[in-house]
Amino acid sequence: MSDAEVVLALALGVLFTAGTFLVLRRDLVRVVFGVLVLSQATNVYLVTMGGIGGVAPILGHGGTITDPLVQALVLTAVVIGFATTALLLVLVYRTYQEHGSIDLDDIQGAVR
């Protein structure tokens, strides 16, 4: 836990880079891809904040137990992210219905 996790850090860096790049696309579906990658990466990151290398936080199995708190936090974050993503998907669909396009460069609202 006291050592910096270089491999993890680099992998997360790549995941965030990819996610960010996708969010910056003009294709709305790819934007959703990007958001999904970002949230996946965030969850991985969060789990590792308690350190890696213990046994599962279920008592009665012996061994050093890995940090259960971060796992609980990730669960909460996953569920919230899941709900928001579901809404986003429906919104994407409705946006397409209203504007007839998923190309964000084509879609213009009354207020920019």
């Binding site: 969060l46 904040m49 974050a77 709900a83 809404l87 919104l91 504007h99 207020v111």
Partner: protein
């Protein structure tokens, strides 16, 4: 001292929200529940305020788990100030909503979302836990998404989509920061984190500044500060007028509140001798230039962009960006100058109160115009003052309060912002504030000239009668603005008490109340 009153406002709003779903097929019952619920919300909030006044800190350990292991809610003057603001604006806005929205819309979700918005903001105002703050943010946001997308038309869907995407990015960043802070400090409880920081060596605490500033970026996104302000105009313009009023009046303040609570109560606790690379002073001193840049840019960009907008609510939405800049500007001074922390926070709170009253008022006036005239295009409006002097008078009070005309609430906001900047020798901040204020005069007078004065246009001439109930709500808000200004003495006393949490002794009291005498 534990009292269930601390959590009562959250529970009242939550129960009301749930009830509103359960009784959705009996619209009349639903409306009644919703209204009773919001009144109960205000009543419990004021009861809580009475316990907090003038300088009490009540910690509430949810689930009876002692801090820092469970989640702690804390009611102190700072949260009390924000809650009181909400408790004034929410009932008025809801009464307005009941008359404003058509029955099916109310039935399908409006009341539920409205109360969930209250749940989220109230939870955020009360929580003493960083991750719990994230959860309440998400509750507030989800309700906001619903309200922005409410009409489900062209504008609503697009605005909501943008809003959701940007905030999903924000959520990832926030988790990045919160997780990092947990990794570094080993705790999520704000008081515990403050205690940890106070004891930490500079070497241990170095990563905290970067992480806390990442958090600040997320708060900036919620508050709509430049360069995170993008979602504001389209979201406010798409939402129903009373929802926009709540979003601008209450939900936006959650971001500002978080800056104060997390920045000034937690991060300022770090050892004051802690010297940063090039910056002198404590950890919070680094917030000074950052907050100043965000606030200054917001004031100028928001004020300037509001100046030439074609519709009423767009003007208000862009104005919101600038006004939040005014709220944050004294915080920048407070961060940079440790002696001015109380003064700066108090100034920010007073300005926030002004904006929480004036902006909803203006949005609601816009809603009335929209409803009666069918449009808020400034080009086709004119002569509203002759059509409804009451409406015009209310707009004038709200607009002049934004400008900072005494003796309205906004005047003291401006005075205190100027004062904080003057005491901090922040000449540039003063200049920016004055420039922003001049822009405010310009767009308020422009809106007035084009909508309320001028020859009565056909649209205005053929306007139906204005709903007296909604008009009464608007007038009540105007009354609040005048009352806050005229009776400013106690209001300032309250704001100052709230500002004390940002100082050493105030922070110690907070930490003691939460952790109980420093055990942990």
């Amino acid at each position: 001292m534990t009292t269930n009153l601390v959590i009562a406002p959250v529970l009242v709003a939550l129960v009301t929200a749930i009830t509103c779903i359960l009784v959705r097929f009996a619209p009349r019952v639903q409306r009644t529940c919703s209204l009773v619920g919001v009144v109960a919300y205000s009543a419990t909030t004021f009861a809580l305020l009475a316990r907090v006044w003038p300088a009490n800190t009540l910690a509430y350990q949810v689930g009876n788990w002692r801090a820092p292991y469970g989640i702690t809610l804390v009611a102190d003057p700072l949260s009390g100030f924000m809650l009181t603001m909400t408790a004034v604006v929410a009932p008025l806005t809801l009464v307005y909503s009941v008359r404003h929205l058509k029955a099916p819309g109310q039935r399908v979700s409006y009341h539920t979302l409205f109360h969930f918005l209250l749940v989220g903001s109230t939870g955020a105002f009360l929580t003493g836990d960083l991750f719990n703050l994230f959860v309440w943010f998400e509750v507030t946001l989800m309700a906001s998404y619903g309200l922005v997308a409410f009409y489900s038309g062209r504008d609503g869907t697009l605005a909501a989509t943008r809003y959701v995407v940007l905030n999903l990015v924000g959520s990832s960043l926030m988790l990045l920061a919160v997780g990092g802070l947990y990794g570094v400090t080993g705790t999520l409880n704000m008081a515990d984190m403050a205690r940890w920081l106070a004891a930490a060596s500079p070497a241990e605490a170095t990563p905290v500044l970067g992480l806390s500033l990442l958090l600040l970026a997320v708060f900036g996104l919620k508050a709509g500060l430049v360069p995170f302000q993008w979602w504001v105009p389209s979201a406010y313009a798409a939402a129903p007028a009373p929802a926009a009023a709540m979003l601008a009046g209450v939900a936006k303040k959650v971001g500002v509140y978080a800056v104060i609570r997390v920045g000034f109560v937690v991060f300022a606790a770090a050892d004051p001798t802690f010297t940063l690379g090039g910056l002198a002073g404590d950890l919070l001193a680094a917030y000074g230039p950052v907050l100043f840049a965000l606030a200054g840019a917001s004031i100028l960009v928001g004020g300037l962009a509001a100046l030439d907008r074609p519709t009423f609510e767009e003007t208000l939405a862009y104005s919101s960006i600038g006004q939040v800049g005014f709220i944050v500007l004294p915080l920048a001074v407070a961060a940079a100058v440790p002696d001015l922390r109380t003064v700066g926070v108090a100034a920010a709170l007073v300005y926030a109160l002004n904006h929480a009253l004036a902006k909803p008022l203006l949005f609601l006036v816009g809603g009335l115009v929209e409803d009666a005239a069918g449009t808020t295009e400034l080009d086709v409006l004119g002569g509203l003052a002759g059509r409804s002097p009451t409406l015009a008078g209310a707009f004038l009070v709200g607009g002049l309060s934004l400008v900072g005309i005494p003796p309205l609430a906004g005047f003291f906001g401006k005075l205190l912002v100027f004062r904080a900047a003057a005491l901090g020798d922040a000449t540039v901040a003063l200049a920016v504030a004055v420039a922003g204020a001049v822009l405010t005069i310009a767009y308020v007078s422009r809106t007035w000239n084009r909508a309320f004065w001028g020859e009565r246009t056909d649209v205005v001439a053929s306007m139906g009668a204005l709903d007296p109930v909604r008009l009464a709500v608007v007038v009540a808000l105007a009354g609040c603005i005048v009352a806050v200004g005229v009776g400013f003495g106690p209001v300032y006393g309250f704001a100052e008490a709230a500002g004390h949490v940002a100082t050493g002794p105030g922070r110690d009291a907070y930490v003691r109340a939460v952790l109980g005498g420093g055990v942990a």
